[in-house]
């Protein structure tokens, strides 16, 4: 009468049903992402044809349009130009287009890199120190301070954006990379402290105590014993901070307008002639999403901690 499988091991049938449903959901969920990529390698007419084209001749025009600014010209004018010097030139000439000026994508993308990495470096640095402080020492009002650090995340970004906008205007920080780095550091440091405190709590105190008995000072013990032990945690925290700063939109849209603008507010503003240039937008989106896809796969095991402030551990 006993089943072939153990009580807690689901039956093969239930596994098969579960697998089917999950795979179905995963495939549906992936459709928009696959569509973004497909659109990025379509020619503009293919991208807006109806019914949507699944089979098409791939074109790199979207990527060319993203990195250059092009405009349509008469065939006579194109013919009068010197011969094309590279692939991008060739593709554009075929469609009677010439490069009219540099595109803004690269500087915006560079801003994203500078601001994301800068703020991550600062947030993780400050966060590691503070997390060690909270983890190892009796700090007066530690619980209140930790809750205060967490509560800074409850404020809608728009609400803080008004006074920060005014403050930055006074300090000359508006629309500067430094201003955005400081702002994202402040937002990320709360996550960094909470996550890293969890990681450092797990390193036995005995390690430092042993090192200190051997004659290390507290700071040496921190540097030579705790930091190496916490490397994995620090790396995971850094990637979470990086992803947040990379993806952030509200502050970037409200506080930057030109020189310090990052990619998220910029990508939607890419306009072609006669409406939005969807292949170029899709190309920008694809390039922008690639690092996040890589990080998601790398972070698989740490994901739960990162998204719940370390409140749930696996």
């Amino acid at each position: 009468m006993t089943a072939a499988h153990s009580v807690v091991e689901p039956s093969p049938t239930s596994k098969r049903v579960a697998a089917t449903l999950v795979i179905l959901y995963a495939l549906i969920t992936m459709v928009p992402l696959v569509w973004i990529f497909l659109t990025s390698i379509k020619s503009p007419p293919d991208s807006i044809s109806y019914p949507p084209k699944i089979l098409f001749t791939p074109s790199l025009e979207g990527y060319c349009n993203l990195f250059t600014t092009r405009t349509r010209q008469t065939p006579d004018y194109i013919a009068s130009l010197p011969p094309p010097s590279n692939l991008c030139d060739e593709v554009t000439r075929e469609r009677n287009m010439v490069i009219a000026g540099p595109s803004n994508f690269l500087p915006r993308f560079a801003n994203s890199l500078i601001i994301a990495f800068g703020s991550t470096f600062l947030a993780v640095g400050l966060g590691t120190l503070a997390a060690y402080g909270f983890s190892r020492f009796k700090v007066p009002l530690a619980d209140d301070l930790l809750f205060f650090i967490l509560s800074t995340r409850m404020m809608p970004p728009i609400a803080v954006a008004i006074p920060i906008y005014l403050m930055y205007r006074q300090l000359g920080l508006s629309d500067t990379a430094l201003g955005m780095i400081l702002l994202y550091t402040a937002v990320n440091v709360s996550l960094a402290v909470w996550l890293l405190k969890g990681f450092i709590d797990e390193i036995p105190r005995e390690y430092e105590e042993a090192a200190m008995i051997d004659g290390y000072t507290r700071l040496q013990a921190f540097r030579k014993v705790v930091l190496p032990q916490a490397t994995t945690g620090i790396a995971a925290t850094a990637i979470f901070c990086l992803i947040f700063a990379w993806n952030e939109y509200a502050f970037a849209a409200l506080l930057t307008s030109g020189t310090a603008q990052t990619a998220p507010p910029f990508i939607p503003t890419i306009i072609g002639e006669g409406g939005q240039d969807w292949p170029a937008v899709a190309a920008g989106t694809t390039i922008f999403l690639v690092p996040i896809l890589v990080f998601t796969i790398l972070l698989r095991k740490q994901l739960l901690r990162g998204i719940t402030f370390g409140a749930v551990r696996k």
Binding site: Y25, W246, L289, L304
Partner: protein, 322 residues
């Protein structure tokens, strides 16, 4: 004999005392532990005070004035509680709060049901479950702004994949599938994208909850011949409840602040059908430049989130203690 015994204990005690961290700390050259603790924590606190708390207090101050950020040289007058009165009596603001509540409610219901369902299925640990889990988790790692912008393309009635797919499945002509342009459909367009993006988040937390239930409870239930249905409602759901509630808390706070996706998909329109609180706040602060009034609105919002979150956390703790 007693004497030697005593000296031995004394020696042991002495060695033990010397090994305790306090004793070690006393011998430490340079900085004391207290100084280090302070030195380590202070920079973070200072940064948060400068970039979070100072602006918050500035916003509180501004909320009592008629200051306008686009006229920095005008004379600033104290208007007392006038701004708060105006905000609380403004039907548009109440409408935006209602819209927000509508979004928060439906996104949480959909994400919790689908997310828990997926977690329940994934808990079966079929072959390749880790791969599919990772695939499902991708949407929540993306930038809501970039995602929102791209969904705008998918929703386009004449060229978009979404309209085509719905039309293909139901036979409704695509011209009638105006997801972002129709008053009735626009809120659902946003709810669909938010659910697509954040269901994985709820799923992940629920999965952690399900994996935390020890096997022996199910074994005991099996011995007692409890039906699968009974096991689900008496073991699975209650044991996973704290995790589900935590997911709801995080999603609730985030969706209460929802801005990026709405701003890119509809910008609050058509009319003001998708004007959530954050969009209303942005319009008041950065389009109407009513800095004082929008600060009052911001403070009211913050107090609301903070208050609701606190009440909810109390309930969560009660569930945890059960």
């Amino acid at each position: 004999m007693t004497a030697s015994h005593e000296t031995l204990t004394d020696k042991m005690t002495e060695a033990a005392v010397r090994a305790t961290p306090q004793a070690v700390a006393r011998r430490v050259r340079g900085l004391s532990d207290r100084a280090i603790a302070w030195l380590f924590i202070a920079p973070t606190i200072v940064l948060l005070l400068a970039i979070n708390i100072f602006p918050l207090f500035w916003a509180i101050y501004l909320s009592f004035t008629n200051y306008r950020a686009n006229r920095p040289n005008a004379v600033v007058q104290n208007v007392g509680l006038g701004n708060y009165e105006r905000v609380l009596n403004d039907p548009d603001i109440w409408a935006s709060m209602q819209t927000t509540a509508h979004f928060v409610f439906w996104t949480i219901v959909l994400q919790t049901v689908i997310g828990f369902g997926l977690a329940f299925l994934l808990d079966r640990k079929f072959r390749g479950h880790a791969f599919w889990t990772t695939l499902i988790l991708i949407p929540m790692m993306l930038s809501p702004a970039v995602v929102g912008n791209f969904w705008r393309f998918l929703y386009e009635p004449q060229i978009g994949l979404f309209a085509y797919a719905v039309s293909f499945l139901t036979g409704i002509p695509t011209s009638e599938i105006q997801m972002l342009g129709s008053v009735n459909l626009a809120p659902w367009a946003i709810i669909i994208v938010d659910t697509w993006m954040w269901t994985p988040y709820v799923m992940l937390i629920c999965l952690a909850g399900l994996r935390s239930i020890p096997d022996y409870i199910y074994e005991a239930a099996e011995v007692d011949r409890a039906s699968n249905w009974r096991q689900f409602w008496s073991i699975t759901v209650p044991m996973a409840l704290p995790f589900i509630m935590l997911a709801v808390l995080f999603r609730g706070i985030e969706n209460f602040k929802m801005f990026d996706m709405v701003n890119l998909l509809t910008g609050g329109g058509p009319g003001s059908t998708t004007e959530v609180a954050s969009i209303a706040l942005k319009r008041a602060a950065f389009e109407a430049w009513a800095t004082g009034r929008s600060s009052a609105f911001a403070i009211i919002l913050f107090v609301a989130v903070f208050g609701l979150a606190n009440i909810y956390v109390k309930a969560l703790n009660k569930v945890k203690q059960r």
